[in-house]
């Protein structure tokens, strides 16, 4: 006997063995269908008695094992059921013949046999034979089970008779010696009459009877017989049979203690039947039983005595096995005994002892085993180890079995079987093949052996011809064992992965094996490792801005409170946090990842893109090559949102080594994000700005500026800048607004630098995609023209100046005395001029534009143009003073102009003659200006003094301008006196609020106007005072004085003869209320021809002292008295 039955268990000792075999040609599936039905009849209660018969069915049984039937009767084939198909009556004899042949094989031990014929019909099928049953086909055999039951019953009858036969024939007759096959030759020539031999025969027979009793369901008797056999055989040192007797004792005890069976998985026993059968046994001794008619107390007591305790069972098993161990040829018996003992121990949960039995079983040498047997043996060992909870050991043996499947000695390696067995080892090695189990926390299990197993899985699946599977396993290996792989191994693994994926690319689909096992996808979250995910805002020029009013609504809708100290702490879902900027539909948006490559070589990541949910997002994949063992490496992934809504970035997908992975951020440990949800606003137009001036190399001060230009201008110069806006987006530009801001500068600036005509540009709207519009912007720089530098030449040495004061600036005051500072800066002044005096102005033009869907939603974009102007000084007004003009309404402004440039320039003011100034030359120029009137600003309270002044200055500055021309450079500009004029000068330039009009003969007369009149005619003179001030004026008294001017400095006041007043030469003006006017009239008579002047003087009156003298500037009347027409005519 060489083939062990690893599935045996202790309770098999009480079963009878029936072999079911096909005869002739029987389709396999059909056979097994029948076999299954037959084997359902596995236990049978015998009608005549309370006993149960257990049947073990085998469809294959080696005849040599049958030869051990005397040793242990459950190994004996006692029944044969042959199954055959027979199409026609012709085949019948042949079939019958075959059946008999089959019977011959087990002939010596068979109690009974049956033949089941399928398909045969007709007269042969009509005949009634007990040993043959005819069925039309395998589906229509309703009484099959009943027939099997009959068959089993007939076996029982034979068994029972044999038992009785053996039990009773102890009377003196010679007891035959039962022996096992290998013993037969040992007993040749042995003295059969010795006591020793007789005892041996008796002992063996006792044991045999015990077996039969056990099979026949007489557990008690069996125990008694076994005990006797043990005693007999022990005395004659018949160790093999002693072992068998002990094992029989153990089996019977196990059957008694564990009526549920020890086989575990094979829950073949029907509990209901065994319940009824065992009910007697399970009752405690002496207890009353309902069906206890034949359960007499004596047998109960005996049972308890004969039956082994659970501990004893193991002891006896140990003993039996040690006896078996003495015989080389009983290896199978020993092995099977070990297996049976282990099963019992597993039930008793005594793993340590079970492992000892198993350890022993491992060493049992069964001689040359076929590969298949080895596999079977290792599998069973693995199963048994599993049974006792030694999962690692179980996995170890399973793996050995798997390796055995593909041993090099096997001509056709069973890779499929190997793979299947390897998969079964996974739990033992704490491997789940689901990468999710490995993503959290520390590594589970023994990496070295796990790696080995994975390598084997990869290899087996490849040899199996399933490259997809091997790619999956290899990916898993790389992903989960990365920390344990050496650099060399990493290289090897990735290389083979690349080899495999070249044939079968790895993907994200779940691989399902035919048997339903699922392999989840393995995303390469460690190749590369992502540490940080950050959604980037759009570039400044493309950012959407919300129109203010609408934004406020949004804010208020969130919460009814303006401020609440209760903040919802939802740090946990940081990833769902909304980001405070928006993306724009149709615009390229970016997400920055910080990644690093843990590999010792360059990692090529292809097709890296974003995984998003929410609004539609078109990801634009990128390919990157990360250097070996790179540190954190920024990677920007881009995509275009296609629809409006919110987008959540869930993860990214990569293709590494030909394996496509979708890595979800939520599964990644140690990834930081600044929120992954972003709102997408409807699309907006996109403008590209270009200017007529070269782009600036200057980096603009503020990051918001998308482009900037730089130019260099002389102070006062104007430059035209053409801004071209191209609509390069897909939306129509609908609105365009323009504003400008001057970046704070210390320089005092006169007027706006930038001015433009937006209307002209807006007339082009809407601007279709691809079109462009241009806008002209004037850049005018007007810095202070006052020469605050003391190093400038000063023409202060004149006495003409009325005011005679230098331009008052605090700096100037401080720097006194002047001569010193002048000396100091005499020489270095030249150098400084070119560098230091260049002043910088920066301004930002902001284009706000909108259109398309975004416009409807209230979004706009901003485009900023930075303008950087280097202002070179042109001219300075170093000194300003006034001279009264001949007219009271006019005045001369004297300006000392200094040309600080290195070029000569021409100055033209108010159509005066051009004044040519050479470089660094200073000249004085006089400009006749009209005086100004200040209606709004009279003498106001002091608080607004400063402001008032500024306003006044501005008002005046705008009027007094001089044009500068640089002939050599073809450049021109305007210099403004704004800011140069000081209080004193202004006072002079100011038109008095009291307006005096002198009318001669009803004609207005002023300084330069000569009024003609005739000698002898009375000349009416009217003096009108209009009060523009806010106070009432007067009363005033005026005196009229006539004189002649000889134009040589001599004035002749003695004109009583030439001029005579008609009436009084004194006028009296009463109070004049504001905005009212008062007129007083008089008359003169010129007696001679000549040029006469009339000066109107005020009489010294207390009232006019309150007011400044300038208020009382009355024109001198110039009258030319001519001959009367008569004289003329004569």
């Amino acid at each position: 006997m060489s083939i062990p039955d690893y599935m045996q268990c202790a309770e098999d000792h009480q079963s009878v063995l029936v072999v079911v075999q096909p005869v002739g040609i029987v389709p396999e599936d059909q056979f097994f269908r029948i076999y299954k039905r037959i084997s359902s009849v596995c236990q049978q209660s015998i009608r005549s008695s309370q006993r149960l018969l257990y049947i073990r069915y085998r469809h294959h049984y080696p005849p040599e094992n049958n030869e051990w039937g005397d040793f242990q009767t459950h190994r004996k084939v006692v029944g044969l059921i042959a199954i055959t198909t027979c199409a026609s009556a012709k085949e019948w004899p042949q079939t019958s013949e075959r059946f008999h042949g089959q019977k011959e094989v087990f002939g010596s031990t068979l109690y009974d046999s049956r033949l089941l014929v399928f398909g045969l019909q007709g007269e042969i099928a009509e005949q009634h034979r007990t040993d043959v049953a005819f069925y039309p086909d395998c589906d229509s055999c309703p009484d099959l089970e009943r027939r099997v039951e009959d068959f089993v019953e007939s076996i029982f009858i034979v068994l029972e008779s044999k038992r009785l036969d053996r039990t009773t024939d102890k009377s003196g007759d010679k007891i035959p010696l039962l022996c096992v096959p290998f013993e037969k030759k040992d007993f040749v020539g042995l003295d059969t009459d010795s006591r020793h031999y007789k005892k041996r025969c008796q002992g063996r027979m006792r044991k045999h009877v015990g077996d039969l009793c056990l099979q026949a369901g007489m557990l008690q008797d069996a125990l008694v017989h076994y005990h006797m056999a043990v005693e007999l055989l022990r005395s004659v040192n018949d160790f093999l049979w002693l072992g068998a007797a002990l094992e029989g004792l153990c089996s019977a005890s196990v059957i008694f203690h564990y009526p549920g069976g020890t086989a575990g998985k094979r829950a073949a026993r029907k509990p209901s039947i065994s319940q009824a059968a065992d009910s007697g046994k399970r009752h405690r001794p002496g207890a009353l039983t309902t069906n206890g008619i034949n359960a007499d107390t004596s047998s109960e007591i005996g049972r308890a005595k004969n039956c082994l305790s659970p501990e004893d069972i193991i002891e006896k098993y140990k003993e039996a096995i040690s006896y078996y161990g003495k015989y080389k040829n009983a290896g199978v018996i020993e092995l099977e005994a070990c297996v049976k003992a282990v099963r019992v121990l597993a039930i008793q949960k005594r793993a340590m002892e079970a492992s000892e039995f198993l350890q022993n079983a491992v060493y049992i040498n069964l001689g040359q085993l076929s590969e298949e047997e080895k596999i079977q043996r290792y599998s069973v060992l693995s199963e048994l180890y599993d049974l006792i909870g030694f999962h690692r050991k179980s996995a170890f043996f399973k793996r050995v079995a798997a390796m055995q499947c593909v041993a090099p000695t096997i001509p056709e390696p069973g890779w499929r079987a190997c793979y299947k067995l390897l998969l079964e080892t996974l739990p033992g090695y704490c491997l789940s093949l689901d990468p999710k189990d490995f993503s959290k926390g520390t590594h589970h299990g023994w990496a070295a052996v796990q790696m080995r197993l994975l390598h084997e899985l990869v290899y087996a699946s490849r040899r199996m011809g399933n490259p997809g599977l091997s790619v999956r396993h290899l990916s898993f290996l790389l992903q989960t064992m990365l920390d344990f792989l050496s650099d060399q191994e990493k290289k090897e693994v990735t290389q083979s992965l690349e080899n495999y994926t070249s044939k079968c690319p790895g993907g994200m689909e779940v691989i399902t094996l035919p048997d339903g096992l699922k392999f989840p996808p393995v995303p390469f979250t460690k190749l590369p490792i992502v540490r940080f995910v950050k959604l980037l805002n759009l570039p400044v020029s493309l950012r959407p801005h919300k129109v203010k009013g609408l934004l406020g609504e949004n804010m208020s809708s969130k919460s009814p409170f303006i401020y609440s100290p209760i903040i919802l702490h939802n740090r946990g879902d940081e990833r769902c946090k909304k980001i405070d900027f928006q993306w724009v539909q149709g615009a390229v948006c970016e997400v920055q990842l910080m990644v690093y490559n843990p590999m010792p070589f360059e990692l090529r990541v292809e097709n890296m893109g974003l995984l998003t949910s929410g609004a539609e997002f078109e990801s634009l994949p990128a390919a990157l090559a990360l250097p070996a063992e790179s540190g954190l490496y920024p990677v920007t992934l881009v995509g275009v949102p296609r629809t409006v809504g919110s987008i959540t970035v869930n993860g990214y997908h990569t293709s590494v080594f030909g394996v496509n992975s979708d890595c979800l951020l939520e599964g990644l440990p140690g990834v930081k994000t600044g929120g992954c949800m972003v709102e997408v606003v409807p699309s907006l137009p996109r403008l590209l700005l270009s200017t007529s001036l070269p782009r600036s190399p200057h980096v603009a001060a503020s990051e918001d500026i998308s482009s900037s230009v730089a130019l260099q201008l002389f102070n006062g110069e104007t430059q035209t800048l053409t801004v071209t806006l191209d609509n390069i987006g897909t939306e129509t530009l609908e609105t365009l607004e323009l504003s400008s801001k001057i970046i704070s500068t210390k320089e005092k600036l006169l007027g706006d630098i930038l001015n433009w005509d937006i209307q002209e540009a807006q007339s082009h709207l809407p601007l279709l995609p691809g079109c462009s519009l241009s806008l002209t912007v004037n850049i005018r720089v007007k810095l202070d023209f006052s020469g605050q530098e003391n190093l400038l030449p000063d023409l202060s040495d004149d006495g003409i100046s009325v005011t005679g004061l230098p331009i008052s600036s605090p700096l100037r005051q401080v720097l006194k005395p002047r001569p010193e500072s002048k000396a100091l800066s005499a020489d270095p002044g030249k150098n400084e001029k070119s560098t230091c005096h260049v002043k910088t102005l920066e301004a930002v033009m902001t284009f706000k534009y909108s259109g398309g869907g975004g416009h409807v939603e209230g979004f706009y974009r901003e485009l900023c143009l930075g303008i950087h102007v280097d202002v070179e000084p042109s001219v300075f007004f170093t000194r300003v003073s006034t001279l009264p003009a001949t007219s009271m309404r006019q005045c001369h402004l004297l300006l000392d102009v200094f040309n600080s440039t290195e070029h000569e320039l021409t100055i033209n003011a108010k159509n005066n003659q051009d004044l040519l100034l050479y470089a660094s030359e200073c000249q004085r120029m006089a400009i006749q200006v009209d005086k100004f009137e200040f209606e709004s600003v009279c003498v106001q309270p002091e608080q607004s003094q400063q402001q008032w002044e500024t306003e006044r200055q501005q008002a005046q500055g705008s009027l007094i301008n001089s044009t500068l021309i640089h002939p050599s450079l073809q450049r021109e500009g305007e210099a403004s006196v704004e800011g140069v004029l000081n209080q004193l000068v202004l006072d002079h330039l100011q038109l008095a609020p009291l307006q005096w009009d002198v009318l001669v003969n009803g004609k207005q007369c002023d300084c330069d106007i000569v009024t003609d009149c005739r000698v002898g005619d009375p000349v009416s003179l009217e003096v009108k005072l209009t009060n523009h001030s806010k106070k009432e004026v007067g009363p005033l008294a005026l005196t009229l004085v006539a004189f002649q001017d000889y134009q040589n400095g001599i004035q002749n006041h003695d004109l009583q003869d030439a001029v005579t007043f008609i009436g009084s030469n004194t006028f009296y003006i009463d109070k004049v209320n504001p905005t009212f006017s008062s007129t007083c009239t008089g008359a003169l008579l010129f007696l001679y021809t000549g040029d006469f002047y009339l000066s109107i003087k005020f009489q010294d009156d207390s009232t006019r002292r309150d007011l400044p003298p300038a208020f009382f500037g009355l024109p001198t009347v110039h009258i030319r008295a001519l001959e009367s027409p008569i004289e003329n005519g004569a």
Binding site: S355, H391, R392, Y429, G445, A447, V449
Partner: protein, 139 residues
């Protein structure tokens, strides 16, 4: 005398494993790994009784054809496994015990290192030398 010394974490993954270089290292991995079954069995069996007065030394875990595997479990469930050659019959139980004690002391020193992160593989030179001492000693 020892052919393999292993330290296994509470979660049953190796913190340290060293075997004689002449032999297949993976074989010892398997040997030590499968011995964990026995360790667990023994610990759970004892654990039922008196957990605090438990003997740390587990004794012979199982003999294989070529080796004997001994086990030791600290109170923090860190396991030490020493594999010795079966042919070395002169080795007594007491010697094995003392080896484990030495190993335990050295392991305690490793754990006391403030720079050692519990759960990481042991990379201590001092521990290495102790293990080396066991592997060459009294061959």
């Amino acid at each position: 005398m020892a052919v393999c010394v292993a330290v296994i974490a509470k979660e049953n993954y190796p913190l340290y494993i060293r075997s004689v270089p002449t032999q297949n290292e993976l074989k010892f991995h398997y040997t030590v790994h499968t011995s964990l079954d026995v360790v667990e069995e023994k610990v759970s069996a004892v654990g039922k009784a008196l957990a605090d007065q438990r003997e740390l030394y587990l004794g012979l875990l199982y003999p294989t054809e070529d080796y004997k595997v001994y086990g030791y479990v600290t109170n923090s469930k860190v396991k030490f496994v020493i594999v010795v050659d079966s042919s070395n019959t002169s080795l007594r139980d007491n010697e094995i015990r003392s080896m484990f004690r030495k190993l335990h002391n050295s392991f305690t020193d490793v754990m006391c290192n403030p720079f050692y992160n519990p759960g990481d593989a042991i990379q201590s030179r001092a521990f290495d030398s102790v293990v080396s001492g066991m592997m060459v000693q009294a061959c």
